[in-house]
Symmetry: D2
Subunit: 309 residues, 4 copies
Amino acid sequence: MAEFEIKPEFYNYVFSPYLEPAIRINCGDTVVFHTEDAFESRIKTFDDLPSKALKTAKFLNPQTGPVYINGVEPGDTLVADFKSIEFTRNWAVSAVIEYFGGLQSNDITRTLQAPLKEKVWLWKVVDDGKAFYNEEMRIKIPAAPFCGTCATAPDLEAIQALTPGPFGGNMDVPDVKPGNKIYLPVWNPGGLFYIGDCHGAQGQGELCGVALEITAKATVTFDVIKGQTINWPRIESPDKIMAIGSAKPMEDAARIAYAELIKWMGDYGFSPEEGYQICTQAGGLYVGNMVDTVYSLVASIDKRYLKRL
Amino acid sequence: MAEFEIKPEFYNYVFSPYLEPAIRINCGDTVVFHTEDAFESRIKTFDDLPSKALKTAKFLNPQTGPVYINGVEPGDTLVADFKSIEFTRNWAVSAVIEYFGGLQSNDITRTLQAPLKEKVWLWKVVDDGKAFYNEEMRIKIPAAPFCGTCATAPDLEAIQALTPGPFGGNMDVPDVKPGNKIYLPVWNPGGLFYIGDCHGAQGQGELCGVALEITAKATVTFDVIKGQTINWPRIESPDKIMAIGSAKPMEDAARIAYAELIKWMGDYGFSPEEGYQICTQAGGLYVGNMVDTVYSLVASIDKRYLKRL
Amino acid sequence: MAEFEIKPEFYNYVFSPYLEPAIRINCGDTVVFHTEDAFESRIKTFDDLPSKALKTAKFLNPQTGPVYINGVEPGDTLVADFKSIEFTRNWAVSAVIEYFGGLQSNDITRTLQAPLKEKVWLWKVVDDGKAFYNEEMRIKIPAAPFCGTCATAPDLEAIQALTPGPFGGNMDVPDVKPGNKIYLPVWNPGGLFYIGDCHGAQGQGELCGVALEITAKATVTFDVIKGQTINWPRIESPDKIMAIGSAKPMEDAARIAYAELIKWMGDYGFSPEEGYQICTQAGGLYVGNMVDTVYSLVASIDKRYLKRL
Amino acid sequence: MAEFEIKPEFYNYVFSPYLEPAIRINCGDTVVFHTEDAFESRIKTFDDLPSKALKTAKFLNPQTGPVYINGVEPGDTLVADFKSIEFTRNWAVSAVIEYFGGLQSNDITRTLQAPLKEKVWLWKVVDDGKAFYNEEMRIKIPAAPFCGTCATAPDLEAIQALTPGPFGGNMDVPDVKPGNKIYLPVWNPGGLFYIGDCHGAQGQGELCGVALEITAKATVTFDVIKGQTINWPRIESPDKIMAIGSAKPMEDAARIAYAELIKWMGDYGFSPEEGYQICTQAGGLYVGNMVDTVYSLVASIDKRYLKRL
């Protein structure tokens, strides 16, 4: 039950089975991860327009890790129990970036139109870290920190850190937060856990593509479920179980999320037919991101519907 | 401020500008609508399998209306203030229908696979109308009634009652419920309001395509915003403003919903750039239906973010 | 075997079962249809920018018809044998329209970006009607006339003339051309055939959304296949059979097109498994339009693969 | 101008910058690649049903390479001039695989339905290699060999060999064939060229997901365009220039393909506005595959439209 701290000197930009572990730990151990923001802190002022400030960045979304968890093997499920997230600076940044975001054409959804005008949005941490305040708009939003990315290394592939998928990755799902357990598939010995991209808060969909990006310390305790194989990430909160699907078009992400949730309900004694019916009448389905290389949707069911009367 | 009651002898299956009004009322008047279920009560027992029971149904999703509201003209916004929904029988029905629903191929998303096995699910109204109970699964779900469809007649077109769109229609959005106001575009004199498809409760996405279908009495008070033109349906709850987009693929529905919400935020003094930023950090985005001819998503923002500090 | 001519004084903008027939004919009769261009000839010069020239147009894509074909009943298949298309003026027009077209955001695929700059493109009919020439670019393109729209009236619904679907409609498929037979489902007595939107030529996809729009005379001979029910439009050329699917996302249109083609191959004695295999190895699949309210794809198989050796 | 031959002892299943080159050559050199079929020849008889025969295959679609081409650097364009493809056995295989293919639900487009029934299709090479014959159906199809995959290594990422993308990969585009030049972006020194997945013939869309899979020898001559950066693969045939987009939903692939083609037309002196107009009236757009992890579409323009009169 040891506790470790990882404060990287350099970051990775890929969820890869080919990188050396930053640390090797045991199940039950806790790691405090220092995470950079998605721009590696290159945008600090209104004048750091993305087209200029990100010129020196060959890749985005720096990741801390990977962590090798002893005893974790392919076919197991890795459990990442999120204990806390603390901000390590007193401001967050968002931005409108050219040809990026939910209401702009981009590299994949191409148009011939001019991009949106770039803009940097700065938000101060206020109220003892409980809120963010933007002076320009005079708007305050409660802090609700979570990690935009957490992943195990994929099988065979090395995937850039801007992508979500079966391995987790850049899901931008607000429920990857303290108090919740994240379950991830394992394809490589040690699992090889990556984490990064802390968001101080984020709406559903992460509309402009840039949440309240901030540096942070994320504290996670690791465990394993031996011999239980899952195909996509799952989340357990005190009240709900949730499954995440990441795909395009968005309906495919929705289908994956609900199909995986129904599979999970099987562990509680519900047939697929029953799961299908219960989710129809009582399931939740929200959009985590509609901006990344593929979109992430979260299907959920309240735990009270997992027990028969 | 008169109150009227409509108990149809026959129903319409189309949102159409070509049908005679069932009634003509004034702004401020209230109408109690008796609504049939989506199957026109053809499925009552386990043995009423859809492939058999629906053979006599040329069309589905019967609608009550249209209501002609005096003084409402093209270019106005119709306000439907949902006062209450009462069930008019003590059971609801759901079903798995061949080649229909979110986890099944269908007429548009075609495969060569066999359909899912049909099944009828019956749910009893219990707890004085506050819950539904399914004996087969021994599962109880709180009642949360709303109208799956409400619409104004489209411009020029007559659209079948299974379709959602700019006119509202078969959105299957749980926020079309008592306590909320629904705003609809107006293309025809009198607005021509249709309503139906009461759901006793429904999860987000309406996964299998059939919620807790039940007959009901829906009480709605009508008003108009003269000269205010909107392009898509909107909802106002005590706490939130919401915009609904209906389209395929689902990301298009998401884009419409957020773009319309940002436009609405303009009425509160926020520029599109500000609306885009606030929705990014604090917006909500859930799936109403992922089963109809196009999908409906709901974008929302809490009213507390509509005031500058 | 009579021949008729329809030169409308006014046009329809909707594929509707609710309109009076322009003419009643018998199977075997031929009709010469005068068709307007999609803008009803409002754009004639470089200065007729769409935002200005189309202000007086409440609807676009005027249709000639409907034709009532005696003896044609719901459940039959209507056969429209395209005999010829002649241009009735010596120029065609294309245009870039704001928020419309394949490489621009639009009413459904929304962004916050500014639209493309409008522009009118004029093309002269040259080489005795065999080609189009654009002086500005000094580019010549062979004429390949076809009808962007042809439809039977839908069942119950009235659908605007910009939409393709099971009823045909605004498919913008270059194979709806002289020498080919178009097969359409029938939902209403008389079939109620509409036609319009002649294109002097068009690339696959109709990329900017506006082909070489031109007024024309289209000559069509009608026939019926009694008691044969089809669900989507089909085309027969001297060499190929083709099925058209119209849907969004585009993969759904592709699935419909191939699924319907495989069904058609059943008439030639091939099982679905065989059809699936033959289409895999020898099928054609091109994009008709990627710009309309839904997209149209054409799946085809060469007739030589419809006979076993 | 040397000629080399690569007959691998083992294959790669990933397009990766992390693998050792199989060979290092110079620009102008020619390589004869021996390629395995997508199943690594595990399916040889009717009884080798995929669920059984592929059990020993952790990965599919074996690739030959990578080839390191001296002098090729990031930012250049690699030219792969396809000289010939010869079959190295006298039969090809196709199959229906459970939960795979264009008319079946799959791992991403999920349903709860049972899969299609598996089936192996065997096709004999006949007519001196000029055709394929299937005895079961008594159908003969002309040979039209091409490589389903060819790729340069991606930037940073390692991508499984079943995926198409900006790097080329599993595009399943029939125009990757002898007589045509394939242009690929370069992100790594030497380019790192992979090739495999020869198809004896294939329809557009590769409908069931398995074309006429066959082992082969592909002969390719390599060249480089120094300092010319492209973002997606391109093809040049004697008559046409073509651009390939790979994405989901399919309309995104279509947008990429046409946007890249218009960019390429810029090299011929056409502005984007002109390219947009010419493609609208004369472009080609067909579906390469509608079955891989993302779909590949090919936009083309005839070379005669690249010269002003």
